[in-house]
């Protein structure tokens, strides 16, 4: 187990290097001159020349690349062109907001999604199943932007129960509820559907029939025998979704004026602030790898038959 985890951790290095290289090349290929963009519409030549020289943008691309990777190796994500501050500082500021939102919406998604999925599976083809299926499909199909605006109109502007977007002083419960809800709608839908189909598959298995034949109550059959096994595919979905949420949720963050990483990344792309874009993407990649590792470890915990030997048999 320890060996497996160490191996996986070592794999992070080539993955991050690959991501850094790809994003560097992509940003280089996208048209738009970062130095020029700092200046607004009035691009005075001498000033432009100075910006390029001081920021090292006048150097050939391979030198810029080598310098960049060299800094990265030391854990230095560089300095934002526009904000003139270290990228790590920018990520550190935005990440708490993003993490709060991700955790809040994951909690909502897991509680509501899993419960709904179990209810649907147990009541297969009955009213509750149908209701869950219809609602989950709506959750998946609703654009986050639209749903967010609707929630604001109903619960903030209409009923006045909650503030109209914003972070408040520190992203407290009153402020986080609506963004978390609008963000989780999609995941509730996915998790509910995944949980349902996974449960149905498990319920059809021989060992469940055996359990029932032993005379166990339906409740004991579901809770003790079916649930745990049905969780495995759902955990994968939760893990991947959680990782992507930790990278920021642009639409939700924009509607609710939530100061997260997604907005910071997209704003940086809009002005070609390359160090920020690269830093945020590398950070996201890192989070992705880590969460996936945690997911894999949790398989072993949930299903003791799975042994982590670094093989592909999991």
């Amino acid at each position: 187990m320890t060996e497996y985890i160490l191996k996986r951790l070592l794999m992070v290095i080539p993955i991050l290097l690959g991501v850094a290289t790809i994003i560097f090349m992509l940003m280089f290929l996208v048209p738009g001159d970062p130095a020029r963009l700092l200046m607004g519409q009035h691009g005075d030549e001498k000033v432009l020349e100075n910006i390029r020289r001081e920021m090292g943008l006048d150097k050939p691309i391979y030198i810029q690349y080598v310098k960049y990777i060299g800094k990265l190796a030391k854990g230095d994500l560089g300095t934002s062109y526009r904000q003139k501050r270290p990228v790590t500082q920018i990520i550190r500021e935005r990440f708490p907001a993003t993490a709060k939102l991700a955790v809040a919406s994951m909690i909502l998604s897991i509680i509501i999604g899993i419960t709904a999925g179990i209810i649907a599976a147990v009541n297969r083809n009955k009213f509750w199943d149908l209701l869950v299926m219809v609602l989950s499909l709506s959750g998946i199909s609703m654009p986050v932007f639209w749903l967010g605006m609707m929630l604001i109109l109903i619960f903030a502007s209409g009923l006045g129960w909650l503030p109209v977007g914003g972070y408040g002083r520190s992203g407290d419960l009153r402020h986080i509820l609506l963004p978390a809800l609008s963000l989780s709608a999609v995941f509730i839908g996915y998790i509910a559907r995944m949980m349902r189909s996974s449960m149905l598959e498990v319920i059809g298995k021989d060992y469940i029939r055996t359990a029932r034949a032993k005379g166990l109550s339906e409740r004991a059959v579901i809770v003790n025998h079916a649930l745990r096994n049905a969780f495995i595919p759902v955990i994968t979905i939760i893990g991947i979704n959680f990782a992507s949420l930790l990278g920021g949720a642009v639409a939700t963050e924009t509607v609710f004026a939530w100061p997260g990483l997604g907005r910071a990344t997209v704003d940086a792309i809009r002005v070609r602030d390359l160090p920020v874009v690269e830093g945020c993407v590398i950070f996201l990649a890192f989070i992705f790898v880590m969460v996936n590792l945690l997911v894999d470890i949790s398989y072993a915990w949930i299903d003791p038959r799975i042994r982590l030997n670094g093989r592909q048999d999991i």
């Binding site: 996208v30 048209p31 738009g32 001159d33 970062p34 020029r36 963009l37 700092l38 200046m39 607004g40 519409q41 009035h42 691009g43 005075d44 030549e45 001498k46 000033v47 432009l48 100075n50 910006i51 020289r53 001081e54 920021m55 526009r82 904000q83 003139k84 501050r85 920018i90 500021e93 935005r94 907001a97 605006m149 604001i152 109109l153 903030a156 502007s157 006045g160 503030p163 109209v164 977007g165 914003g166 972070y167 408040g168 002083r169 407290d172 924009t254 509607v255 609710f256 004026a257 100061p259 997260g260 907005r263 910071a264 704003d267 809009r270 002005v271 070609r272």
Partner: protein, 517 residues
């Protein structure tokens, strides 16, 4: 408690703590440092914290005293002598002297500080040497005593006084620069309190302000990217000023909140540029004129901008003293357009290749160019639309890639030089501002002379001629002059509507109606 008062609605005064004026910003300011300010979010805050030698009156746009109480300009237009006010202090309590201007100007021009706006000080003698790293001090700046600043220019430069009203020429206390970055310390009516990135910037009234302490004790600039949400926050009493109105809803909102909607013209034009560097527009005046006659400006203003704009007939927008209202070269007349098109050598559009019209991604811009596309079709001219994001778009325009492109320009300063020279003088072709590649020796002569002339009346005359010439020449298709539209909490008064835009609104002039002064 603070939180509760924030959401208690705009009508009620908070029980404890100061009254907070809440101002919506569409984006987090990249920095709050005058030498880097190029966007309106930063400028909104910078102009409250920092001041320069002189300032622009927000309404009349005249240059008025700020940290300098008076100034003299030598007859040859080369030497500017400023006499500083005494007993003016920075927000840390230290008195402002001429040495602070040396520090601030040299800081802006030092290459490693990478100021995006060092061109503001470029007319000063020795500025270029500093920027290129050949000098460490600014030779054109002298400080004979603590309260006198003498600036010598390389050559006469008429818009200079307006130039140093820009952010980059502000007095910055050297204590602003510390080991942990830049903390804004200026002399303005408000001092910096706190900044939570992407959330809000808070300022508080500076008690020892040389113009008297502001009545509004605190201003919170709230970063709300989505204008629809900002509008909802305004309705809920969570904002006092929203610097935009959701597009397409102006009439609706005006009916609902007649006292809150403020609309006024500001110094911005919008146009469709021609590519003068290659056929078919190069050297084909009739073709450019034909298309200029084929745009229904009145309908664009009425249908797309809900009447809150003015159809354009020249380069300079209303509000500029150099503007000539009698320039009225093009109306909307498809018959005339067809006739000119035939004279241009393309009867009914025959023989004309499909032209490209580019624009940057934005719903309003898209509607605008689609509308133009549909009327061009009526005279037989087919155009292909192409949209890009701003960085790629700017790049393409500077390299003269499109046949036609949509752009707008907001004046940095209320001087015609900022429109006519920057956007159309042939010395500016490329990134400096002239993206159309327009080049007319007579136009260059007029705008060059106006740049160095020290006679204000002569300058006005020259710019009027230049604007008329460029318009007759169909340098671009003039589309419209924009208005600024804001939502403002009517419980406050003292609001003035600055011709440069909302970022110049003096918050220190506001007061809460009925509050005890």
């Amino acid at each position: 408690m603070l939180l509760i008062s924030l959401f208690a609605g705009c009508g009620s005064a908070p029980e404890d703590g100061p009254r907070i004026f809440r101002y919506r910003l569409a984006a987090d300011p990249p920095e709050i440092d005058p030498i880097h300010t190029t966007d309106t979010s930063s400028a909104t805050i910078i102009f409250r914290i920092f001041e320069g030698l002189v300032d622009l009156d927000p309404v009349s746009l005249e240059v008025v005293p700020s940290l300098a109480e008076r100034w003299e300009i030598s007859g040859d237009g080369l030497t500017y002598t400023f006499y500083l006010k005494k007993d003016v202090t920075f927000h840390n309590g230290r008195e402002v002297t001429s040495a602070d201007f040396r520090y601030s100007f040299e800081r802006c021009l030092t290459p490693k500080n990478i100021s995006e706006r060092s061109w503001v000080l470029a007319p000063i003698k020795g500025a270029d040497d500093m920027l290129s790293g050949d000098a460490d001090t600014l030779s054109g700046l002298e400080t004979p005593d603590d309260y006198t600043v003498i600036l010598t220019l390389e050559q006469p430069f008429a818009p200079f006084l307006s130039y140093i009203c820009m952010e980059a020429a502000s007095a910055v206390a050297h204590e602003s620069v510390g080991t942990d970055g830049f903390t804004p310390i200026g002399t303005g009516p408000y001092k910096f309190m706190s900044w939570q990135h992407d959330i809000r910037v808070s300022l508080e009234a500076y008690a020892d302000y040389h113009g008297g302490i502001a009545e509004i004790e605190r201003v919170d600039y709230e970063v709300i990217p989505d204008v629809g949400v900002a509008y909802q926050k305004f309705l809920a009493g969570e904002l006092d000023l929203v610097n935009e109105i959701p597009p397409g809803q102006l009439k609706l909102i005006t009916e609902r909140l007649p006292d809150a909607v403020k609309i006024w013209p500001f110094l911005r034009n919008e146009y469709i540029g021609f590519n003068h560097t290659r056929p078919p527009f190069k050297d084909n005046l009739k073709l450019r004129q034909a298309l200029s006659w084929a745009v229904d400006r009145d309908r664009i203003v009425e249908d797309l901008y809900e009447g809150a704009a003015t159809p354009a007939n020249s380069v300079l927008p209303p509000g500029m003293k150099e503007r000539d209202d009698t320039i009225n070269e093009y109306g909307f007349d498809l018959e005339k357009a067809k006739q000119l098109l035939a004279e241009a050598g393309y009867p009914g559009g025959e023989g004309l290749p499909e032209l490209s019209l580019w624009y940057n991604n934005n719903e309003m811009h898209q509607q605008n160019v689609q509308f133009v596309q549909s009327t061009f079709k009526k005279i037989g001219v087919n155009i292909r639309l192409k949209s890009l994001d701003w960085p790629a778009y700017l790049n393409a325009c500077e390299n003269h890639e499109p046949d036609m492109y949509r752009l707008g320009w907001v004046a940095d300063i209320p001087d015609a030089d900022n429109f006519l020279y920057i956007l159309l003088n042939s010395a500016q072709i490329g990134s400096a501002g002239n993206y159309s590649g327009y080049s007319n020796p007579e136009f260059d002569r007029l705008t060059n002379e106006a740049r160095i002339s020290t006679d204000p009346d002569r300058r006005i005359e020259l710019y009027r001629k230049a604007d008329r010439l460029a318009t007759e020449d169909a340098c671009w298709i003039h589309i419209m002059y924009s208005t600024q539209r804001i939502l403002f909490n009517p419980e406050y008064d003292g609001l003035v509507l600055p011709a440069q835009g909302d970022f110049r609104i003096p918050i220190e002039w506001l007061h809460y109606k009925g509050s005890v002064k």
